[in-house]
Symmetry: C2
Subunit: 295 residues, 2 copies
């Protein structure tokens, strides 16, 4: 029997609907609309498209987008000054620095200037520390999207064997933490793992986030496993993921397609993070900084 | 053939000797001695003994201990004020808040007041975030001690299967990150793990840090594995660890005894962290705060 395909577009649409209701509820309580500021540095066309899509998605659910663009030769201190103004701007509840930055700009210290209360990408050092220590905080969007898909398909995680292939800052590492929080037994694999197929084939839940086209084949998948494919690659013959979909389809029980699987979830969770950030900032009753530990 | 026992006391002595040389070298460069401030709140006898031992260990290697004691009924704002003074004190390069705090005091927000540059226990949110994101920073002492033992016995980690039993903030979670940094394939198990024995017996390097006496028996250990026992429990019949030592001794290749295994490493790594912090603060040439991201 071929795997049931996980419909990421449908789940993402439900999340957006949930956010839309949350925003309406917020407005009904007399609170301002959540605001998301995007910062785009330079002219990279792909980044410009991503930013436009995020802003359009904001508008659809009632979040106010604030568009900020800087020239490709912007200096770090200009970006820093902009982030400082956005941290102080009460209309802005989330700040997103679109990556990658133009060559010569170091992203990490700039990201760390974002008030953790407004860190809707969950990438500041403080957000990462909150994640590792299990304290409340904003979590990275794609890993949250994976959890949302698993929940939507009622995949039990507690006590089950989850294997994450890839250890990136954006996906692999935070996802491993989220799966651990949900009481899965979690293994992280990577390029140095020996016998990748043997390790992966233990997984009841297998997440491929290695960034290698069709890395995961039939021999990597345990019969009846749930397989989540985070990769997306544009090859001559079309889009593909980190999973060789046709090879694993009759072995997995549940499988995310590419496209239409994890992809749509990232923006949906960004919207939800922005709403969560706005609620947190309103709830604290005094601006974002009261949510910063050690301040 | 019974397992070779890992001599933690000998490895710890070598680390202390290394720190002693590092301190002497620092003094030779005209820099002040590293300073470690300990904060003990209340009268818990065990905590008082731990603090005394740490101070004594400091003196032996040339680190200046600064002893701070507060009454058991000290308020959080008093502790906060003390931490603030120590953050500003240039003679103090490391600050250690002895845990646990008396009932009614929440440790996490107080720990987060410690300047990350002086966070020799590696427990602030920023230190945890640096650990998860692989950025330079001070790492928790016991996990560092485990790595030091593995290195001292030339245990290869790259590409090998490491299993960590336990996911505490102090040991399990940071240790998993350190093993991952060393390119091991890392699995984290815990109380909800099904078939603990089956998962553990895959490990080429097995670390028991669950806090459960003799949890790890013969069936949990792969033949020829390296077994690191982080537990220490005082039972009626004497000290024991998380590993049933007599049951696994002829199956493991290398094994830490209890006591005399991981135990002595924690204080040794605290001394090294204090020296590292001092060097970092001197290198930055202007006090600790320049090392804080986002400030």
């Amino acid at each position: 029997m071929p795997a049931e395909l996980i419909d990421g577009s449908a789940v993402a649409a439900r999340v957006r609907e949930r956010v839309k209701h949350g925003v309406a509820d917020r407005l009904g309580r007399g609170l301002p609309a959540p605001g998301l500021a995007t910062i785009l540095v330079g002219e990279d066309p792909a980044s410009a498209i991503y930013v436009s899509r995020k802003q359009e998605a904001c508008r659809e659910v009632g979040i106010t987008p604030f568009d900020h663009r800087l020239a490709a030769d912007a200096r770090a201190d200009e970006i820093a000054a902009l982030i400082g103004r956005l941290n102080a701007d009460q209309r802005v509840h989330g700040i997103l620095l679109q990556l990658p930055l133009p060559h010569g700009l170091d992203a990490a210290p700039l990201i760390d200037l974002i008030d953790p209360a407004k860190d809707v990408d969950g990438l500041t050092t403080i957000s990462q520390g909150r994640l590792l220590s299990g304290r409340p905080g904003l979590r990275p969007c794609t890993p949250r999207g994976v959890l949302e898909l698993l929940d939507a398909y009622e995949v039990a995680l507690e006590g089950r064997e989850a294997v994450v292939v890839g250890r990136s800052q954006l996906v692999g590492k935070p996802l491993a933490q989220l799966l651990l929080e949900r009481n899965a037994t979690v293994t992280v694999c990577h390029s140095r793992t020996r016998s990748l197929a043997a390790v992966c084939s233990r997984a009841e839940v297998l997440v491929a986030a290695a960034g290698v086209p069709r890395l995961i084949g039939r021999e990597h998948v345990r019969r009846g496993a749930v397989v989540i494919d985070v990769g997306i690659h544009r090859l001559a013959e079309g889009l593909c993921g980190d999973v060789d979909q046709s090879a694993v389809r009759d072995k997995a029980a549940l499988l995310t397609p590419v496209p239409g699987g994890v992809g749509p979830m990232t923006v949906a969770m960004l919207l939800e993070n922005t709403l969560l950030a706005a609620e947190q900032q309103s709830g604290a009753g005094g601006g974002a900084s009261s949510d910063r530990p050690g301040m």
